[in-house]
């Protein structure tokens, strides 16, 4: 069948209810202002990326996966980093946990070596703890400022 996913997938991961965790979806919204090539699709995968999208990618079709997410790498809020998936630690495929315990590493681990995977991460400023009653529907100013920078990085990545 004609697939849901094209040659290049850009996946914005995160939950907009949790402050800077909404960075990935915000970048996908910003990309809507650009006319992307026909072989590219940008998708807000929210929280369901690992199960709903990454587990269905076909390496025969999709050659490049760009994941956009907030990521704690010890930078300053709004700092943006780009890492290839090869640098990620191995997932826990043998443990077969659920989407929440297994984070993104398991599905990425299954795709490693079968397609190019690039992760663009933004250091968050504020994410309410999941066990608190706090919500934040806005990105912090620093992370909001990182959105156009990330769009530029993605567009450069598409040209490479």
């Amino acid at each position: 069948m004609e697939g849901l996913f094209p040659e290049i997938m850009i996946a914005g991961v995160g939950n907009e209810l949790f402050g800077d965790d909404g960075f990935g979806p915000a970048v996908i919204r910003a990309l809507a202002d650009y006319e992307l090539p026909d072989n590219v699709k940008a998708m807000d995968v929210g929280l369901g990326g690992p199960h709903l999208i990454f587990s269905m990618l076909e390496p025969e079709v999709t050659k490049k996966l760009i994941i956009v997410d907030c990521m704690d790498f010890g930078g300053k809020p709004g700092d943006v980093t780009k890492i290839p998936a090869d640098l990620l630690p191995e997932g826990r495929q043998e443990r077969y946990m659920d989407a929440h315990s297994g984070n993104l590493l398991d599905p990425i681990g299954r795709l490693k070596g079968k397609m190019e995977i690039i992760i663009i991460g933004c250091q968050p400023g504020y994410i309410p703890a999941p066990d608190s009653e706090d919500f934040a529907l806005e990105l912090s100013p620093e992370v909001q400022g990182a959105v156009p920078k990330t769009v530029t990085v993605i567009l450069q990545e598409l040209e490479s």
Partner: protein, 455 residues
């Protein structure tokens, strides 16, 4: 004297939950508590003061797996409170979206349930990722069914994961004749695949039901014939879509619903007195640790007619189609039997859809604070959202999600089962225990992996 064993976290479903089990000397569960340990969502609080357009979008973010069901239930709860009747063609589009979501979700469940099962006629447990036949073909079929469900969801819903096309008053856009033809073609393509998948999975589940034992923790555990039976009732609003307070004859009744505290329902503080390091995924909780289900449970306990009830595929089949299979196997088989209905519903709705028809109500009242509810038959069961909207703003909002209904019912279904098979029973309910996630990249030595900052 009873021993207490804890499985935490439970695996191969969505979200965080655990099992606290009192077992007899033979390892048979005398009392089981299955509880959510996913933190309280609090979305209901967040919704207050937001507009009726914002709240369904917020609700869709409460879970990574069920955004379609939550979007539809929340949208229709707003419509029910505001008294908005949607055009027929908008309703048909929602039916297609609902059925596509169910097709995808049931296929996803098959991947999660298969590793408990055996290839019929063998003592070989099924690894859905094996390259060996016949499992490889089954896995490819599952992926194709998921892809079809997601693709149709994207065509009709606007996005494959968080649908943007549903809106209060109908749907933002109708689909084009070409898109309708694609939906129709994809659904037709799914028909033989869905039939084959249903038949394969039913054969696998029936085989398990006839087996005498299952291998767990390196030993043979006897499978009782009444695995997962309970005496609770069922609750479902519709075989496929749902009901709302706008219906002439609503099929869900808020007067029959009561929510009580977990404190009143679950066990008190218990010391873990038995453990098994051979249990899959790292063993059970070590003896000597404490469990306190009534304090640790993160959901209320919803009751219908004063009792916990089961929701989901079997509840729909029992209420609307006289299905009478009980237990974990009966529930799994009921889910498989919904495959065909999902596909046929998409075909019927696409057939009936007028792509030139209006999909937005002419008038959208802004609400006078009246309570409205929508009971959406999500893949995992009845997802009830309730709302009060006044002058366009949400004054009150509540979500009674499927697994919340099933927690206490499934807890009752654990009684009489060997503790090692408790998760087989839990997984039959296809639990979805939602929460938020984000990514932190550390290596095994807790060292940050990211290497380069972009200027």
């Amino acid at each position: 004297m009873s021993k207490v064993v804890e499985i935490s976290p439970t695996t191969r479903h969505e979200g965080h939950s655990k099992l606290v089990l009192k077992v007899n000397d033979e390892g048979i569960i005398e009392r089981g508590d299955w509880l959510s340990i996913t933190p309280v969502r609090g979305v209901e609080k967040l919704a207050i003061g937001k507009t009726y357009e914002q709240v369904p979008k917020i609700a869709s973010r409460v879970c990574g797996i069920c955004p379609i069901a939550h979007t539809l239930a929340a949208t229709e709860a707003m419509e029910a409170s505001m008294g908005v009747e949607i055009p027929d063609d908008a309703y048909l589009l929602r039916i297609i979206l609902q059925a596509a979501n169910r097709l995808h979700s049931h296929a996803l469940h098959d991947i999660l349930a298969l590793p408990d099962m055996y290839l019929p006629g063998t003592d070989t447990k099924i690894n859905p990722f094996t390259p060996e036949e016949p499992v490889r073909s089954v896995a490819k079929r599952i992926q194709t069914l998921r892809m079809i469900g997601q693709t149709i969801g994207e065509i009709v819903g606007g996005e494959a994961v968080h649908p943007s096309n549903p809106r209060v008053g109908g749907m933002y856009k109708n689909i084009t004749p070409r898109a309708k033809a694609k939906v129709y073609d994809l659904a037709k393509q799914a028909l033989p695949l869905a039939r084959a998948q249903m038949e394969f999975m039913i054969a696998v589940f029936e085989n398990y039901g006839k087996r005498d034992w299952a291998e767990m923790c390196g030993r043979e555990v006897a499978i009782p014939k009444d695995l997962g039976f309970h005496q609770q009732g069922y609750m479902a609003a519709d075989p496929m879509y749902g009901s709302s307070s706008l219906d002439e004859h609503p099929t869900w009744d808020p007067a029959r619903w009561l929510e009580v505290r977990p404190w009143d329902w679950y066990m008190g503080e218990e010391e873990i007195t038995m453990d098994d390091p051979a249990y899959p995924v790292g063993g059970t909780t070590k003896a000597g640790a404490k469990a306190w289900p009534q304090m640790q449970a993160c959901t209320g306990v919803p009751l219908y007619d004063g009792q916990p009830v089961e929701v989901g595929p079997r509840a729909r089949m029992s209420i609307f189609k006289n299905y009478d299979r009980k237990g974990a196997i009966g529930l799994n088989i009921a889910r498989e039997m919904e495959y065909m209905d999902s596909v046929y519903k998409m075909i019927e709705a696409a057939d009936a859809l007028n792509t030139s028809g209006s999909t937005v109500a002419d008038v959208i009242p802004q609400g006078d604070g009246e309570i409205g509810w929508a009971a959406n038959e999500a893949p995992r069961g009845c997802d009830v959202h309730l709302a009060k909207v006044r002058n366009g703003k949400v004054e009150w909002f509540s979500m009674l999600v499927p697994t919340t209904w099933n927690f206490p019912t499934c807890s009752r279904a654990l009684t009489g089962a060997p503790w090692e098979l408790a998760e087989v029973i839990v997984r039959a309910y296809d639990p979805c225990v939602s929460c938020a996630t984000h990514m932190i990249v550390l290596d095994e030595n807790n060292k940050l992996v990211a290497q380069k900052l972009l200027e």
